[in-house]
Amino acid sequence: MKKYIFEALITLKNGILDPQGLATQKVLKRMKYPIDNVRFGKLITFEIQAKDNVEAEKLANEITYNSLINPVLENYELKLLKEIEA
């Protein structure tokens, strides 16, 4: 078994209102920055034990899609950061 460290980047889908992003954008605009489209997301990292990276990717996708995101509102991107020999 090896350990795989993943990073899930979770973002709101287009068209979903992001009041946090809007509030931040308003403040930044008030400070005269030429800024638009501020959107908040989430970054979640986790370690998976698996026999190879195919299995690890499968598990990581399953966990992210089924448990970490709400598919009605959010998209995600998974990145394998590191593979560690156990």
Binding site: I16, L17, D18, Q20, L22, A23, S67, N70, V72
Partner: protein, 220 residues
Amino acid sequence: MIKAGIIVFPGTNCDRDAEFALKMAGFNVEYIWHDFENVKKYELLFIPGGFSYGDYLRAGALAKFSPIMKEVEKYVEEDRGLVLGICNGFQILTEAELLKGALTKNKSLKFICRDVDVKVINKKTPFSKYIKKEVLTIPIAHAEGNYYIENYDYLKERNLIAFEYLNNPNGSIGNIAGIYNEKFNVLGMMPHPERNSVKTLGNGDGLHILMSIRRSLENE
């Protein structure tokens, strides 16, 4: 007496109000801790509001993995009774995909706590068929009550909209305050009927919904 079970998660905080209101409506009431799995003996399951699991990850997102939710799913599938989710209960039901769509942050960025007027839309369900009023005044108290669904027509065509706000407080699509599932045995709504169940707490409009549920269950 009709038996109602109030499901309690860590962080639920409207359970006592629910007990009071359900008793006022003539139910026999018990609490069910989320770790327990037996829900079969109840004719109504009440998922109250609050902040289950501290609203971590997303409101309602962690509660859906509690052992009891698998049983609730079966309960709905086998038509064993009715399920009513209020506020965080509604959020849990959408996260568990027992109801369509999702609840996201209020458009105003604010936590809103006040009375709102909602119109009864589908009047033919067990939850609504004995409600005589057209419009009910019921309190809301939420930061994430902005209902969203990609396919709004799906709800409209199947008559799944339970209540609509007269003045949309949170940005919900189509002014939606509450919806049903396709079998009409699950209702989720953001307003809190249990917080206006007697005249001392307002005008008692919330009781109409609970009374309709009880009468429907009795007449089944």
